[in-house]
């Protein structure tokens, strides 16, 4: 999304069409079914693998559409990525610590 586009929306706020949000909701429900189905039918590696791919995808749909990040100024997405980076660093350091004890 371009800056100019986002700026224009800051003044004339963007209303996401209801139909699109319903589509996002259907996608989220289907993705949940896929994760649950995979974990029941293929417990173990496959089930975990599916969950590890699908769960972040669900999170992205919620953030971008329900939480509007796709339509906000880029600074909001950068702020979010910064928070995620902090979490990743904390997680990385913790695991580094535990794996070298």
């Amino acid at each position: 999304m371009h800056d100019a586009h986002a700026t224009a929306h800051a003044e004339h706020e963007h209303i996401v069409p209801d139909g699109l949000q319903v589509l996002i909701w259907i996608s989220l429900m289907l993705l949940t079914l896929i994760t649950a189905g995979a974990s029941i039918l293929f417990p173990g590696r496959v089930g975990i693998g599916v969950a590890m791919v699908v769960t972040p995808l669900k999170a992205a749909l919620i953030l971008m559409f329900f939480m509007h990040l796709k339509y906000e100024k880029p600074v909001f997405r950068w702020m979010f990525l910064t928070a995620m980076a902090i979490l990743a660093v904390v997680m990385g350091l913790t695991f580094f610590d535990y794996s070298h004890r």
Partner: protein
């Protein structure tokens, strides 16, 4: 950016919607890091006690977990529909969607109540002697389960209280089209509660 609106009395009201939204997101980041810390604890203990986590997770009812995911995802949809309706100036419609969101939040807690009651009747509850007799990893799993879903449940209750306040403010007209920030930020909070649950589902119910 600042927007200035002249009221009927000629009084100039200063508002800063972008600043307000930035503040709301900053608060949400503190929430992400709060739950994130618990996810780190979960990850480390799961690494150390993989077999115990696997064994303990069998006790959880995955169908209830999935059902509650459907409930929360649907409540997120009704929340965005409430915001959209108010943005278009349809206050009545917005109130109905907000009411639906509140009701779905209550359904989530009722399902949670039955889940926890079942665990309690099996003496699986923090502080129970029975837990201490289990392998250490299982004890850790159940305690993390109650801590994380409990903290999440508290967030659901707070969300319901805030929804009730916003509901009253939409009815009184204090929150309306063009002044719908309070509903919008309540929505952001509610979606974050949904987002946390999206991660709790696979970690505890599906793939442990």
């Amino acid at each position: 950016m600042n927007t200035q609106a002249a009221t009927a009395t000629g009084h100039v009201v200063h508002r800063d919607p972008v600043g307000a939204k930035t503040g709301m997101w900053l608060f949400l980041f503190t929430e992400v890091l709060l739950f994130g810390g618990l996810f780190v604890v979960y990850a480390v203990y799961r690494q150390m006690h993989t077999a115990d986590f696997h064994e303990a997770a069998y006790e959880l009812n995955r169908y209830m977990g999935v059902a509650n995911t459907f409930v929360l995802l649907t409540s997120s949809l009704t929340m965005v529909l409430a915001v959209g309706a108010l943005q278009r100036g349809q206050a009545g419609r917005s109130l109905r969607w907000l009411g639906a969101t509140f009701a779905l939040a209550a359904v989530f807690l009722v399902v949670k109540y039955f889940e926890w009651s079942a665990k309690y009747s099996h003496h699986i509850f923090p502080g129970q002697e029975y837990l201490k007799e289990l392998p250490h990893g299982q004890d850790l799993f159940y305690n993390l389960y109650f801590m994380m879903t409990g903290l999440h449940g508290i967030h659901v209750v707070i969300g319901m209280i805030v929804m009730a306040v916003v509901f009253a403010k939409i009815r009184s007209g204090a929150v309306r089209a063009g002044r719908h920030g309070m509903l919008e930020y309540t929505g952001l909070y509610w979606h974050l509660v949904d987002l946390v649950w999206v991660f709790l589902l696979p970690l505890f119910y599906l793939t442990a």
